[in-house]
Amino acid sequence: MTDLLITGARLLDPATRLDAQGGLLVRDGRIAALGPGLAGPEGIPRLDAAGLCLAPGLVDLRASLGEPGAEHRETIASAAEAAAAGGITTLCVLPDSDPPLDDPALIGFIARRGEATGSVTLLPWGAATAGCAGGEIAEYGLLREAGAIGFTDGQRAIASARTMRLALSYARAFGAMVAQHPEEPSLAAGGAATEGELATRLGLPGIPAAAESILVARDIALARLTGGHVHFAHVSTAEALELIRRAKDEGLHVTCDTAPPYFDLNETAIGEYRTYAKLSPPLRTEADRLAVVAALRDGTVDAIASDHQPRDTDDKRLPFAQAAAGGAGLSTLLAVTLARVHAGDIGLLDALALLTERPARLIGAPAGRLAPGLPADLVLFDPERAWKIEAGKLPGKAQNTPFDGRAVEGRVIATFKAGRRVF
């Protein structure tokens, strides 16, 4: 079995607020001990990590994979390669694939495909409604037994208030959350960019920012009504974040995540019709970006997810409004998050918490912490090393990064899954 001693690293564990020089011992693929001055037994492989940070492997709360259904965009193997390069060791897979993950057998299939990669644990979200089509609620009990971490229709909003009510209500029986893509569909239909001056200049159909806050407000009211746990995905507007902040203060079971594009980019990234920056929800104004940064800092946001959506050139080399929305995000998740640390917007441990311990806690996964007994899922990174994100040169198949050309500081040096080096 896998044994390893990592020495001289800066140990970072957000759960215990540990930030100290030291070593970490892996025995049989699990963390055996860690701390300053850890010597460890003789005769096992050693890795000198002087000058590097050692943190729990990242837990990515939301990613779509091309497989099953769109293997021309990405396979689980290629996604696993990108995840490992990004320091991600646990990845929660959205269910709006083809076929959608609305059957217990498919949930098991995804989990097994993850095990087969040897580098990343895949935890499937179950479909909130049959076929992710927005109609009847799916078999939450059976899906939960099979391993579903929660329920969502992925990139599709659960449009009907009645369906959402039933979903939140029924999911309580199985202690599961329902995650919403918060975008009022009738306001968002046909839209390609955030409504406003830029969309007007470019002649693009707009989606008002209120499309997000309207659905957030409705679903908070439904959480209050049902006592259910609603989770809002990739929240991107000041107004929605303020509603979530108030709901949390009220004590409702409301959580949310956001994704790097929403705190690193604003709508100007779509200038000149750059389709790689076409996302769903669309990139917002600078004021909204700043509100997302503030929400990272004050704890309103519970997790940073990659929001990875693989697209190929056929999806993207189209007139802007016809191009597919979505950005690749696995391999850039840590680096773009660290940009907020370097900018002084958020502390290093707090940023890592949003990538590890907090999403792990949300889904109840034994991951995201440096604790003896847990699997040795680890990421070793150099927070200062500079590199440039370039579409076409990213690990994995999906190259549709909205950060194309962005210079970042912070690079994954090694990723370990159960103590085995996978990157």
Binding site: L204, P208, D314, Q322
Partner: protein
């Protein structure tokens, strides 16, 4: 004179001097056309392709005539919309055009940004002949020339653009063009047909037509895209005409010598009354068509001169 890029994709970003230079050159072509002379050696041996993904008689014919008057070989390619909603076809088309050694490519497309996408892939100089709800630069130039000839100037004039501004590339290009030339632009229409935050592009927005027309030197009517009606943005044609259609009575609120413009084709009785459209004392709609050919000759001339391969 020079344009800042080898394509003409938009008015936005063009400097006042570049626009004025284009208008001056167009005016010289206008006089040439009226004199009955031609200049068929200028684009001799050059290929102009009119690539129209949306139906248009007026603009395509205007470009065709402009190209032929300068001696270019002109080819019209109409691509039926049904087969080209896929962009791969758009880029395939670009590859085909490159293989044909096309020099000047005039593109109309239903999607904003489609000519810009093509421009990245073709060797030819690309002229945007209207893309989605983005821009229609040669329309704005011909409108500016029409105004300049009718009024003797553009600076300081008040131009009221009325109707379906939200879906109008003509309105956007005119707004950029006229504000660059220091005219005051008013946009008039119901809030449901007004694009978001359009005032930040330098216009004054009115929802009351009587208010917006007051003292205007130029009244530019836009075509109401009838298909928008089904989107419920206005309840009916008769209601639209009542509040935003131009008739003699409403025109009476504008300056006494105000001119009336329309990019065509007109919906008579929807946005404009025939009595106004056909009034020779006020309507310059026919002149707009004439200016169109001259302006397009100027644009083809300048872009051909700027294209390295043609120099």
């Amino acid at each position: 004179m020079m344009l800042p890029a080898r394509h003409l994709l938009a008015i936005e970003g063009l400097h006042q001097t570049a626009i004025a230079g284009l208008l001056d050159l167009a005016e010289s072509y206008l006089l040439l056309n009226r004199s009955g002379k031609t200049q068929r050696d200028l684009l001799k041996g050059r290929t102009l392709i009119n690539l129209f993904f949306e139906d248009s008689t007026r603009t395509r014919t205007s470009f065709e005539l402009a190209g032929k008057r300068l001696g270019a070989d002109v080819i019209n390619m109409s691509v039926s919309t049904s087969s080209v909603n896929k962009g791969e076809t758009l880029l395939d088309t670009a590859a085909t055009l490159n293989a044909m050694n096309c020099d000047l490519l005039v593109v109309r497309h239903g999607q904003s940004g489609a000519p810009a996408l093509l421009a990245q892939k073709v060797d030819a100089a690309v002229i945007n002949a209207g893309d989605g709800t983005h821009e229609h630069p040669t329309q704005a130039l011909l409108d500016a020339l029409t105004i300049r000839r009718a009024k003797g100037r553009i600076e300081g004039l008040t131009v009221a653009i009325c109707g379906d501004v939200a879906h109008s590339r003509v309105a956007r290009s005119n707004l950029h063009c006229l504000t660059a030339l220091n005219a005051r632009v008013r946009l008039i229409g119901p809030p449901t047909l007004m694009p978001a935050e359009v005032a930040r592009l330098g216009a004054e927005v009115f929802h009351d037509m009587a208010e917006g027309l007051k003292g205007a030197d130029v009244v530019m009517m836009l075509r109401l895209q009838r298909e928008r009606m089904s989107g419920g943005q206005v309840p009916s044609a008769r209601e639209f005409f009542r509040f935003y259609g131009l008739d003699a009575q409403k025109l009476g609120l504008a300056a006494p010598d105000a001119i009336v413009m329309h990019p065509g084709p007109m919906n008579r009785g929807v946005e404009i009354d025939s009595a106004v459209a056909d009034d020779p004392a006020r309507s310059v709609i026919a002149e707009q068509v004439e200016m169109g050919v001259a302006v397009r000759m100027a644009v083809l001339d300048i872009l051909a001169r700027q294209q390295p391969r043609l120099a």
